[in-house]
Amino acid sequence: MKDVERLFKAYNAALVRYLTRRLGDRDWAEELAQETFLRALRQGDVENERAWLFTVATNLARDEGRKQARRRRHLQLLADEARVRETEMAPLPIEREEDALAARRALDALEERDRLALLMREEGLNYEEIAEALGLSVRSIGTTLFRARRRLVASYEGLIQEKKGGHKAS
């Protein structure tokens, strides 16, 4: 793709956010986003540049993350828990830290396909682009997103309820 500078300006923020939400690590996300744009340089013109960028970013995250995924998630949870405990280091109100932790857990509880579809939708990709990026049929995207959102909301609310119950008990 030629005009990579324009692509970078148009999509970098969205890609970094998407990857950060997906991976839970912004350093890593920036790294992969940058690599995505570098790959775009070598790529000929494509029909849908946004779908292409998200496809490449998703594949990069998947390739690199496959082996480490389980361990990373575990590390992330450890780190989140440690951070929530450490009010000294926490730059945010504790409630927001806990919300973020619950959100991370709820998101991690989704199936990969549901999670990716939802995060892409949150970045404004339309159903066709999501279908293209994930290799799914356009018809199935509505169902995928419906399920993803319902499960996300349900498990998030479950975690928040659990936490409130825990506070009362202690």
Partner: protein, 348 residues
């Protein structure tokens, strides 16, 4: 009215305006007529908003496992340096960490010696991170105050590893080796523990020793390692558990990083791919002005068009920043200047 109930996915697609025109009309008519599907549509709207709020909450912790990210100390560089490739008015800069180490060990040691004394005073210039990318453009949110990054120094451990004298918990020293997949030691790899702001480089046999200071007691820490051309690895160590050794095996990255390490030029035909986060100009002496540009990211390589001006580039692997200093001076002088940035006068 079509009395067949559409499935949840179709109703959601309808709510999000993702249906082809004909189908959209059909579903609209049905929803008007069917209370059950109207309820599902309402539920879907609520879920869209709720899910969006939940996903947005993830952005409150943008830095993953870096709790103290808002204001970060610039670490002392372990051994990163740059090799400059000039071609036809375009300079492409690549980090070649190990090559440089081999090329100039004594020079680096000398610089380290110079830097060691002043290190604690001036290596800790805080850099304000751009605010989280909600503003839409991650790179435009340049901080107001131009912090002066300290250039590479090769004595990262000595000062930082010194434990606090009187705190009751003892400092914990973690040792280990960083090797490649095939067991080859990786010298010059960066080993770090974000939570305690500690970072060291590995020696020629890939060994390292890193200290968790006593004033920062932890139940557990995450030891991370990375090296140019390799994917980062991390391992959790339970500090109280008696285990003091962490060996890390890095897998080769099949990415551009590896290509960059191999010395191939990256995208020289695409200037300005990564606009600088900020540019600071310094007056070296009357009439001579150099420019310091800070680029986002930088996994080990950056490609920037520098016109005809000589440029010196270095890379901060922990802050994920690449710095380029360019000006009408010989390269050697630029490199020297990079180590003395604090003495220069900023030209607005």
């Amino acid at each position: 009215v079509d009395t067949r109930h559409p499935d949840d996915g179709t109703l959601l697609a309808f709510v999000e305006d993702q249906l082809p025109a004909g189908e959209r009309e059909r579903i609209a008519t049905h929803v008007d007529w069917c209370a059950e599907c109207a309820a599902t549509v309402a539920e879907a709207r609520g879920m869209i908003a709720a899910a969006s709020r939940i996903v947005g909450a993830l952005d409150d912790v943008p830095a993953g496992v870096l709790p103290a990210r808002r204001v970060r100390r610039i670490p002392r560089w372990t051994a990163a340096a740059a090799v400059l490739v000039l071609s036809a008015g375009v300079s492409t800069v690549l980090v070649q960490q190990r090559a440089t180490e081999k090329a100039a060990p004594t020079e680096r040691a000398a610089l380290a010696g110079q830097a060691a004394g002043a290190a604690d005073a001036d290596a800790g210039v805080p850099i304000r991170e751009p605010e989280s990318s909600q503003s839409g453009s991650a790179v435009s949110a340049a901080p107001a105050s131009p912090a002066v990054p300290h250039p590479p120094a090769a004595a990262p451990t000595a000062a930082r590893a010194a434990p606090a004298p009187s705190a009751p918990p003892a400092p914990v020293t973690i040792t280990g080796r960083v090797v490649a997949e095939d067991g080859t030691p990786l010298p010059g790899a960066n080993v770090f523990i974000n939570e305690v702001n500690a970072s060291v480089g590995t020696d020629s046999s890939g060994r390292y020793s890193i200290t968790v200071p006593a004033e920062r007691p932890r139940d557990s820490v995450i030891v991370r390692a990375r090296a140019p051309g390799y994917a980062m690895q991390a391992e959790t160590l339970h500090v109280g558990g008696g285990r003091q050794t962490v060996d890390l095996r890095l897998e080769q990255s099949r990415s551009f990083i590896a290509e960059a390490s191999a010395g191939r030029a990256l995208s020289a035909e695409q200037p300005g791919l990564f606009p600088p986060i900020r540019t600071v100009r310094y007056q070296v002496r009357p009439g001579v002005v150099v420019e310091l540009r800070e680029y986002p990211g930088g996994v080990g390589a950056a490609s920037v068009r520098e016109g005809a001006l000589p440029s010196y580039m270095w890379h901060d692997p922990r802050a994920r920043r690449t710095f380029v200093l360019s000006g009408p001076l010989p390269l050697a002088e630029l490199e020297l200047l990079a180590h003395r940035l604090g003495e220069l006068v900023v030209v607005p």
